[in-house]
Symmetry: D2
Subunit: 400 residues, 4 copies
């Protein structure tokens, strides 16, 4: 049996450098590369495949786009998936990549995993958690973390090993892309007070260049899941892709926030999340129509906790299962339509409708005679009762 | 001693109708009208004064604009004041109006309060709470709630009593305005699926009509309080007024939400909140820079609770004092600047700076050698430890 | 068709007085009394029946003991059901009583409901909520609330109407009993600083009189539900009744707390809750063994919210359904045994066991070599990273 | 300048072994031992001193008992300091020990810190956090963590180095003691289903051996701080020591829980916390009397968060400062007395009194005519309004 390692492979510099290292420094004879297609550019998927084969690896490409949307993005929609303003795009793809690596490892009988994450970021936590949860006895090797290379050192090593890398030492942006969003890091982008240059954006137009006329859009939901655009029923993948274009053309989906990473580093982060931004906004608006005030308040805490677990990469955590039981129960009623207006970077909800709307036209009307207003005297008189007692005691104390 | 009532007076139909009622139906000889200027149009304040005097009342106008900003709006900024997406503009003015009525009642030795709130809305709760907290023994009369008039009935009554009201039965919008925002109700606006017509907006331009070029804006904060615009130190009132114009001209500040009222009615609400929208966004961005991840998470709950109390009108609640002690403690570090770009309805933070920033350039850098990446192996290996144990038990159970 | 009212009937003074009132003051020809047996003394159930018939009513007794335990008490166990220290005994029986009244009303085609709750307490909220939720068009009459009788007035009226009431004006205690607990009100008991006299207790012995030797007890749970005592599988009713005796004999289950009622009144309340106290303590201990730290923390909030809804009588609230989806998900693992020692008023957990225990003997051991201790250097070095940055900034500011 | 290390010294095996190691393996010439007296047995403090000197160290004993109570235990009382049922006794002493080590390090100009914590427990996090926060540039050496000795290896090494240790390889219990409590670990105690033997307890009598008669006790509080016992004003140290005896004699203060440690290990823990148990119970009861229902609910979350930070040893965390600002604001009203009955392991509150009590005798009374009961019709009719709408929609959906 050849000593086998499964390498999570993107085709980029970090993971390509791992290939000769696995062979020469760690003694693996068989290197199985796994590239997971979660909606990054097709050419990236293709070039990863070519490069892996060129470097003598056994290569698997897993087309996980459909699975990513239905099993990762849809739960994120239901949870209004957010961490500190970030729609979690990279975060929720990592466990799926980990899962595909685990599946491959089981198939090929791997002796170890390898990934290219560094020791400062979040992804090492997200990917290794899945590997350890599902294959606890398979060791994990993280050469980038062990050796803390600088980019220059890495490129040098790649050149020595004849790795055909298109990266140069002065490439600025580090990009991660999937159907749920695009993250851009590098250069001065991490600095809180640096205004990001227009060139970092590829999926969303600037407000100046955005469509000159507003675009109305009606999204249909069933049990919290998006099912149609402007009345046309669409498959999940088609729906997300169409929305990416519409939102991007209208300049919708840029995110610029201060983010607290898992290890405690606070950095500024930039994302383009056109589809996720629109879908979550629409979903939240529909939920606000059908959920009680008490449900809205409590679900905000549930969503916050869900977002934190997702950000931490604890995708298979039992608490996440518990939270989703709560979330799915509410989603039974999150069926209906939301109309939005996308225009010049804005995405505004202009209408919501549902058979489960907790809206009563008669009660809401100014001239309603259904509601006997004099009854609210009791409500008003008991409002803040303890709070008012406090003021009476206070006065007494102040006098005494 | 003439039997005296203090009437919270806006000059509008509801409160004007109260004047003859107080005299004829409730037997008050002296009617003291109190109009509180919290930034509504000057002509409204003036016409209230004229009308009150014409109707034989003793009138007080309290210019509370300055007090409103420093004692009501600034605390709202520190708490990122929000309830379900609503910046609480009307909500936080009501307790101040109640307070001014209480002050007047003490001065004139009032036997009762009167207000024009109906029995369905939130304002009866907000105003009466303050009156009862601070003058618990003074009865409160709410004729609109007791009698549940329709608008048509009210107008008829006003005409009988020669009240010079400019309102007609077909006036559609019910407006409330102060420095923190403008609320528009009436017509079909309460319906969730009705797109609000452009005509309801007066303070914010539509995206089409908004300024054609982006406007950068730097807001300076000291201890959570806005103190300057583009480096120019401004008095609170001037700062808010200037910002209202800038934001409004750029189409920033429209709010369209589903709101759960105090009694449990869910209605759609429309607001224009240009200054509050910008200031709270900027404040939140600065807070995200200086607060720890744990502080951000916990303060979100504190802010949520603060917003709920403010919405409920429990302005003098002991819990609000407790929450503000928490909030003010964090604000010690919320000093610095935030740069925003306002353009075509968008208001985007592009930079934040503070001496208290929890941002460490070296740690954040990709090539940092300060942080020994290999140390995070421990963090990664213990990440989700119990979660992973759960999976091992699950597998055992599944097998067993 | 005779005009029919369904009266929620306990056989006590308040509800007995309602019978002639319904006939004489409200014009009902047919009075249907419903007594729900949730474990109050059999003689109370019997005497209610006799009295109702003697007063010319059509009487139904619903034996709901089994339903009460499985559908009301067991969910309370799973949620560690508590409100401010109170195991919710009366609170969770009210919705069931309301439900049985609704069922009767549907059967007999009632024109109205009647109940004997006063206007100050919680029970009016709990019972009417169920009636309105399930039969929104049937009016509800609450004579005790409408007329605010004093006890003396009530007794006088009862005597005039020849109602055979055993109550005298100097009866002190107002008691409510069911399988989940016993509440005692009246006299000076509502006063916070009054030590309750021994005579109010009937189900629990004082520490002096409690069993002289400790009693060990092992409770078996399956999916959060108690199924056995000391290894003997028992039906729900038998289990609860047996436990009531054991706990009571050992002086376990007295509750003495400050309780904030629905309308805002703060009162001191006294309860005896032997079975519920032991079962919830045992359940919580088992949950602590199988739930992750994060689940324990979050479920505490879920439980708190559940307890509040239960106290408010919102038994059929959609949020309660959502919370129970969360709770039931965790309960899948709450299977195992808990051993307690009951002795002289104490109830102490001394052991817990479960196949789902997140306890790893090797990891916990002092001499474990499995866990590479040196790895935790990373964890320790990043612990409180932002917190430490704050101290560095503080020092800088202090110096600067 | 001799190379100097400050060693946190308890006099026990682990820290004694560090002394020769510091000298021989790490090259320190001057070893400064610091023993912090937080209420452990006097002979332990004394023997640490003797042993340190005998081993050639420069020794400091810091009597921090007073400081421990007022600056660590009192804040814990105000926060009803708890983590999963544990009164945090060891946890809150660690930062003070760290602080004293920092003070010593500054005085002696230390080049490094040394402590004896292992790599599995919580204390390494607590002590190092303080050192790093306050002296970020001073390295920390943790020999026990680096080398993962077994107890047998340690004893052997100690014997080789002529360290006069009274420990033998078969000593079972690992004890930590301070004024706030006593923790016992070792043997089978970590196992969830092992009933702890009576011999582990030293500060609390078993129920059998406890005082044969109940003891009433009245504790006076001012602004959340205990100031008197049975009306006698006492200094903090005297008050805590007296209470330790009283509670212990009555068998009060044993704690037996499942605890989730910082790294994720779930273990069973046993404590004796007589004084803390009584004081926190009393404090909570007084708070329940003076705080509004909303304050009680929110403070429970604040307290939970405080307890977590304290358990994590993040004593100087900015969030802790924020939380304490909230807590201290409420404490302004936590002035009054609480009466308890201690008897046979039970500690029951029987009375509470305060000038700030939100208890109104008239409102609470059954026969009150102040409260117009008919007013609550409005409250009852709007109770659960949205919840009831949900049921109407549900019925419609079920039919449709």
């Amino acid at each position: 049996m050849p000593k086998t390692v499964v390498l999570v492979y993107s085709g980029g510099l970090d993971t390509s450098v791992c290939i000769p290292m696995m062979r020469e420094n760690y003694g693996f004879e068989r290197i199985v590369t796994v590239t997971v297609d979660v909606g990054q550019p097709d050419e990236d998927v293709k070039s990863a495949e070519d490069r892996a084969r060129a470097l003598g690896c056994e290569h698997y490409t897993a087309d996980a786009k459909q699975e990513f949307i239905t099993d990762y993005c849809w739960p994120a929609v239901k949870a209004n998936g957010d961490y500190q303003g970030y729609p979690l795009s990279t975060a929720i793809a990592r466990p799926l990549i980990g899962l595909k690596a685990v599946e491959a490892a089981k198939q090929v009988g791997a002796d170890a995993f390898c990934h290219g994450c560094t020791g400062k970021g979040n992804d090492q936590f997200r990917i290794e958690y899945v590997m350890r949860a599902l294959l606890p006895d398979t060791p994990i090797i993280a050469p980038m973390r062990e050796h803390s290379y600088t980019r220059t050192e890495e490129i040098q090593y790649a050149q020595e090993k004849n790795i055909p890398i298109s990266v140069t030492a002065d490439k600025i942006w580090s990009i991660d892309e999937n159907l749920w969003g695009r993250s851009i890091e590098g250069g001065h982008l991490e600095e809180p007070n640096y205004a990001p240059p227009e060139e970092i954006y590829q999926w969303t137009r600037g407000i100046d260049a955005a469509n000159p006329t507003p675009q109305a859009l009606t999204i249909g939901f069933e049990h919290g899941v998006p099912v149609s655009l402007d009345g046309e029923r669409l498959e999940p993948l088609a729906l997300v892709q169409k929305l990416m274009t519409i939102a991007g053309d209208n300049g919708v989906g840029r995110v610029d926030i201060m983010e607290d990473r898992l290890l405690g580093l606070k950095v500024r982060e930039n994302y383009e999340c056109p589809a996720s931004t629109v879908l979550i906004k629409a979903h939240a608006a529909l939920e606000a129509l059908v959920a009680t005030a008490a449900e809205r308040k409590f679900k905000a805490m549930v969503d916050q906790q869900w977002g934190e677990l997702a950000y931490y990469g604890l995708w298979f955590d039992p608490l996440k299962e518990d939270l989703e039981a709560f979330i799915n129960r509410i989603q039974r009623r999150v069926t209906g339509t939301v109309t939005l207006r996308l225009f010049k970077g804005s995405c505004v909800v202009t209408g919501r409708a549902s058979d489960w709307a907790l809206y009563n036209e008669d009660l809401a009307s100014f001239d309603s005679k259904t509601f006997d207003q004099s009854l609210s005297v009791g409500n008003v008189q008991t409002h803040g009762m303890q709070s008012r007692m406090y003021w009476q005691l206070k006065e007494k104390q102040d006098k005494g």
